[in-house]
Amino acid sequence: MTQYRVVGTRPVRPDGSDKVTGRAVYGADVYLPGMLHGKVLYSPYAHARIKSIDVSAALAMEGVLAVVTGADLPPMTTDEIVQLGESAIGTRYMRDMILARDKALYQGHAIAAVAATSIHLAEMAVSAIKVEYEVLPPVLDVEYAMRPEAPLLHEDLTTRSLGQATGRHSNIASHMRAERGSVEAGFAEAHVVVEREFRTTMVHQGYIEPHAATAQVTADGHYTVWTTTQGSFAVRNCVSQVCGIPLGKLRVIPTEIGGGFGGKTQTYLAPLAVLLTRKSGRPVKLVMTRAETFRSTGPTSGAYIRLKAGARRDGTITALAGSMAYEAGAFPGSPVGAAVNVCFTPYKTDNLRVDGYDVVVNKPRTQAYRAPGATNIAFAAESVIDELAEKLGMDPLAFRLKNAVREGDLNTWNAKLPVIGLVQLLRAAMESEHYSAPLSGQNRGRGVAAGFWGNWGAVSSVHMVFNHDGSINVVEGSVDIAGSRASMAMLVAEELGIPFDQVNVTIGDTEMVGFANETGGSRTTYATGWACVKAAQNAIDNLRGRAALMWECATDQVEYIPGKGFISTADAEKLLTLREICAKMNATGGPVYGVATINAGGGAPAFAVHIADVEVDAETGKVDILRYTALQDVGTAIHPAYVEGQIQGGATQGIGWALHEGYVYDEQGNLKNANFLDYRIPTALDVPMIDTVMVEVPAPNHPYGVRGVGEACIVPPAGALANAIHRAVGVRLPNLPMTPEQVCMALVAKAEAK
């Protein structure tokens, strides 16, 4: 275990004091002179043809300075696929999502936007826009959407597949299959087989800060956008494509961000703000309401899942099979590919067949939500694995350990897994105090679940420059959602051997720093941190050159001892501290920089294992969580408090997903619970303290062994709670959320079956 000086400690984050005093500037906190307020007209219908849009009454209102519709988007020439935010989506689909063209495809689909001198005037102007709709029957269920008789959302959509092209028009946008060996042979060999179907409901990332964007343009056509986003470069790409603005004429400045979890990798308001500022000539600010955030931005998929697992009497899994259909929302691009990828990854098998279907429905186009696709499928897979273990009479962790994948075993796509920590995690769980603590009392049970997430690497850019007193200013382009600025400073301080508070980290906008992929996919400490380390090493090399200049020797005769200074291998007397070299920077050639860009590739994968103790009220169906432990392989914890925080936060979102949260639609496709009362995210009363156990199996390719931590923690909770409820009251719930109503109905059904 490497001993670090700064890494592994818990310094106070540099942006902290502004965040506890209300000074920090978030998306809605931007105010510019002469600013107009924008509002958006959203479709009230889930599925409708747009026959006409009449904005004349709105435009005629005093104080209304601009109105835009889909007709204001520059004409499309090609149907290029652009990798934007983190979901692949046809450029045409994306423009149609930003502002509807000829069809409204979900309640909350943006139809028009206005800019006015006050927010209240803007709201009134939106009401004055007359839209003629031809209402069409909505498709609201993924199973129905796949049937041949279901209405089609897109007349030109055919199923993409690596199989034979059928050319058949369908709501199934794509079909994929992962396979090896023979599942038929594997099931034939099994002594115990479990086959189940599951249904999960659409859920929202639930960030407390709604979307916001402010745009202004100079008289010579240079745009600036301030927005709350997980990726300023992704916003720049989107606005450039949608509004027809060259990248060099468009600056995107990220404000502080009040939560994203994947939902702010796609921008909805920035293109509208830009169109409105272009038309009105004045800065325009748009801020979503909570209801608009629920209706108009991307939640994650509900799904229909069928899984089958078989094992021999000795506990060896012989075959794993499954089929899953994920709701993409109005345009193709659900996370079903990742679902197929993670479904059974923790378990070794020679016989595997998993089918995934990406299906469009009349709901908002889904966006990433923390390990997109994984929570739904892990709920199903971990329930099935648990049932298998139970039928075999094996301890659920021991069963998982017996079948756990190790380095070199195959993932779903038949690629070899690298160094991973699942075995260590399962052992840590089995040896944990929680797992051996007695749990007595009526209707109480303990459940476990595992989870996997691949994580991401991708591109980051960093530059840093020394001040004359030896302190250093670092600029990087990764939006800081939860304290990553501090981790970057810690890595630089560690590399340079200087105190943490001598490192300033600024989050640069798109004109200050090179491209960075968005903050998400558990990539920031991994990839941007790696770039910071490389930039610090580059800075040291440059400083060594300055020392060589001052000592009139060769650079390769100069060494840097972090914490001590620069020494000469040719002359033991020579020593220059960092501060001394920096004081003389101007004389030796000017300020000293360190620069690095990185494409960190695919990222280092992570596993998680959770243990949950619950008590079920058999009368009301309420599930109380008595105790919760989240174990996770974190590689190396740079700032342990923030790693713990990620695990606790992800676990809590998973708990909400498991027990309380879900979109409720009526038959017309109206979202009934677009508010925080009826869309029920966990409150402080709904969760206990979340104990975390960080197992460190360093990622071998990363200079500090970092693994992304933000996502793996949301994968196991639903499965752990489902298994705990079963052990508490003897019912296996097949649907999410496992509300008190669901629990009661299952208990009643169980009693009636007796």
């Binding site: 696929i81 597949s161 034979q164 590919g337 796509w413």
Partner: protein, 88 residues
């Protein structure tokens, strides 16, 4: 020579083989050679304009290279065609 893992739905083109060995210094060359040995593969993997289909990502030795079809493929590389995946 690279080992190319054939997605299950494409194994009708390779007489059921789950992996085949194919020459090529870049991903593009590998796909072209795959097409020569097993006609029909290219149409399933690439769009008419020569770019990779939207619902696929190409992985070389476990990673999706940013160079895409231009990415180098080594002597003992493994190539997989997988769905695109994202984080949140």
């Amino acid at each position: 020579m690279a080992r190319v893992w054939i997605p299950s739905l494409m194994r009708d083109l390779t007489a059921g083989d789950a992996s085949v060995v194919v020459a090529g210094a870049t991903v593009r060359e590998v796909i072209a050679n795959l097409e020569r040995a097993y006609p029909g593969c290219q149409a399933r993997l690439l769009q008419p304009d020569g770019e990779v289909q939207a619902h696929i990502a190409v992985a070389v030795d476990g990673e999706v290279p940013v160079m895409g079809l231009q990415a180098k493929v080594g002597q003992n590389s493994e190539v997989h065609f997988i769905p695109p995946m994202s984080g949140g």
